[in-house]
Every structure is written in structure tokens, then in C-alpha cells.
Symmetry: C2
Subunit: 212 residues, 2 copies
């Protein structure tokens, strides 16, 4: 079993490897990947071990081959379709980020309740009426929902998504959502992230601060 944290780091390694690939880099050592990823060398080795990938003591890891191994570990071979609910600033930001980034993970549509948005194209994908969420999500075989609506309707939107067959949710609304346990939820809490940084801005509280 591969831990949740390792999954996150593999996603990061893959992105770093893509960059290396673009500059025709052939091989890389664990300590190099670690420093790019902001981690440690043993951790990189453990992570790669966990997906059964082996390097060589002489040359480290082969960039292209490793990237391919991570792809086949992380990606669903038949692809994953996602939808963004709430086509505001944040929703559009997410859609822009994912504009044709990964072939196996596509944001296929967005939903909103604003008549000016419904029926139009937002970030090159159709924007549908949130009232039609259930039927449309089911019809398009969407399995991942990104919630970027205000907190007060987030749970309701989430329930509709799950009802339509979604089994993974990325929630940006500043509210904890609750779902059946077969649904995987990731909360990205921007308010908390800000407040955490604000706390550690006070130098006397920074856990990484050098010894006094």
C-alpha cells in the first residue's frame, strides 16, 4: 500500500521529471530530485521503491523511464473526467491551470447558476446550469468534482455530485464537507493556509528558524 503522502510526492516528482525531460536530461540521483522537491534523498528512494521502481547505483534513475513508471502508477488508463462547480475566479483559475496539462485528467465542463455563464464557454469548456448537474455529470461520466462555490451551498453541491456518481472531491469552500466513506475528499482550505503562514510570520514562531 502506498501512502497518501507518497502519492502527492509522486505527482510532484513527475512534474519535475517532465521539466528535466524537456532539457534532455538522461539520469538523476535521488539527492538531486530531493533538493528540487524540497525533500530528502532517502525519502525519494523510499517513494520510488514503493512503486517498485529501481535505479542503478552508477547512474541513479533514468528520467524518461521513471516518468513513465509514475504515469502508469498514478493515471487511470482509461482517463479521469472532472468538472468544476462554481465558475468564479477560483474555478476559472483551476480550469486554466489544467488546460491540456495531463492527457489522462481532463476538466470536461463547469457548472454555475449565473444565467450569463450558463450556455457559454468558459476556459474552453462548456458551462452548464447547476440545476442540471446530476444528469449532465452522469451523462458525461464525470468522476471527480471540484467545488468552488460559496460555503453555504458547498455541501448541497457535493451531495449532488456524489449522487451523480462522483467518487472524488476537491473542495475549496471554507467548510468541512461530509460524504460516504467510498468518496475521497481533499480539502484545500485557503483561509487556513493563509492563517498558518500569518502565524509563522512572527519569527519567534517559525519552526524552521535557525537556533537562537
Amino acid at each position: 500500500m502506498v501512502s497518501e503522502k507518497t502519492i502527492g510526492r509522486l505527482s510532484l516528482y513527475r512534474r519535475l521529471l517532465a521539466g528535466l525531460l524537456a532539457e534532455n536530461r538522461q539520469n538523476i540521483y535521488s539527492h538531486e530530485l530531493a533538493s528540487m522537491a524540497g525533500g530528502t534523498a532517502p525519502q525519494v528512494r523510499r517513494d520510488l521503491m514503493s512503486i517498485g521502481y529501481s535505479g542503478s547505483p552508477a547512474k541513479g534513475y533514468e528520467v524518461a523511464d521513471l516518468a513513465e513508471s509514475i504515469n502508469s502508477f498514478l493515471d487511470n488508463p482509461s482517463g479521469t473526467r472532472a468538472a468544476v462547480v462554481g465558475a468564479g475566479n477560483l474555478g476559472r483559475a483551476i480550469m486554466s491551470y489544467f488546460e491540456s496539462r495531463r492527457p489522462k485528467l481532463r476538466i470536461a465542463a463547469s457548472f454555475d447558476n449565473d444565467p450569463n455563464k450558463i450556455g457559454s464557454e468558459i476556459c474552453n469548456r462548456p458551462c452548464y446550469d447547476i440545476a442540471d448537474l446530476k444528469t449532465t455529470v452522469a451523462r458525461m461520466d464525470i468522476r471527480l468534482g471540484v467545488i468552488t462555490v460559496p460555503a453555504d451551498i458547498a455541501q448541497e453541491v457535493g451531495d449532488k455530485l456524489v449522487d451523480a456518481g462522483v467518487t472524488g472531491i476537491l473542495n475549496f469552500a471554507p467548510k468541512r464537507l461530509h460524504f460516504p466513506e467510498n468518496v475521497y475528499v481533499e480539502h484545500v482550505d485557503l483561509t487556513t493556509s493563509m492563517e498558518k503562514v500569518a502565524f509563522f510570520v512572527r519569527s519567534d514562531t517559525n519552526p524552521n528558524a535557525p537556533e537562537a
Copy 2:
């Protein structure tokens, strides 16, 4: 010493308490707060213990008093000023979220390099030229920087922020940034978050799935 994770949860508790306060709730038990926060009762008690707050076995915790204790633990009494660098969709989303939410944490300005934005008001705060970042950040006594610029200039922007006196950075660019150790950095990696959820969408990989 209070752990980083506890800080994050305290921020969440505080927000939940504010909601309870709005409905005139007087007291709350650890298990209730836990279920709202998506955690466990002992964890809530430990977190509160770590800031030296005590409840009573009879009535649990006093909502208003606890909220006040968390405030005084988390907030810098003299306030914290923040700036968003990159006034795109994501930058504006963050600014909207923080429109007058917390009195002690204010996003005071944004920076961009788009001549159409520079000099205008974005989300009710002035947008300055990114070229003037150093002087403006120093002048406004901004200590927290939010990076929402493209990956290729994120490190450069971060260096300028640090150079101007910022000691906390919230980075949304899909790239690990490196800073001196007196600077606290939090990476919010939207790509990784999406890819993590995509991985667990496959029911056979969901760590919370019920026993087969």
C-alpha cells in the same frame, strides 16, 4: 511548542466557533467540535490543551471564550499585512475570500506586471507595478506574500519579497520555491491536489473505502 498541524486545526476551530457564535450557541463538547472539523474528540482536546485552554466536564467549552483564546494565540496583536503578487484569477479569488474577514490579517495590496491593472483597484485594494515590489512592500510593512504568478517567475518574485522583508510566503505556483530558513513557506499545489484526488477516484485505491 505547538505543532504546525495543530495551528491549522486551530484556524479551522476558530471559524467553526464563529459560526456557532452567530447562532448564539453557548457551549460545545469536544466530540461536537470534532465532528464539525472532521477530526476526533481526543484530538480537539489535545489541540486546546496545547494552547492552555480548559473546559469543564459539565459544560464542555465556552464558545465565545474559546474563540477569543484562539484569537489571542493565533493573531499577531499588531496585525499582519499581506500582499498578493499576480492579480490573475487565482490572486483575485484569494483577495475576495479575504475581503474584511479577519481584522488582524489584511491583504493590503496586489502587484502585477499588466499595465491595464497597474494603478487600478482590484478587489478594493490598489494594484502596483511588480517592478516596484521591493520598495512598496517595505514601505507598507508587508510581511506575508502570496505568490500567484506563473511558475517561471515565481522564484524571482519570491526572492524579491524576501528581499523586501517578507518572512512568510504562501505559494500557489506549481513549483517548489527555496528560501532562507527564517522564511516560512507553505506550498499549495493545486496540480498535485487534483492528481491525488484523481488517483483515489479509482475505488480500488481509496484509503477510506469500507472493507471488502
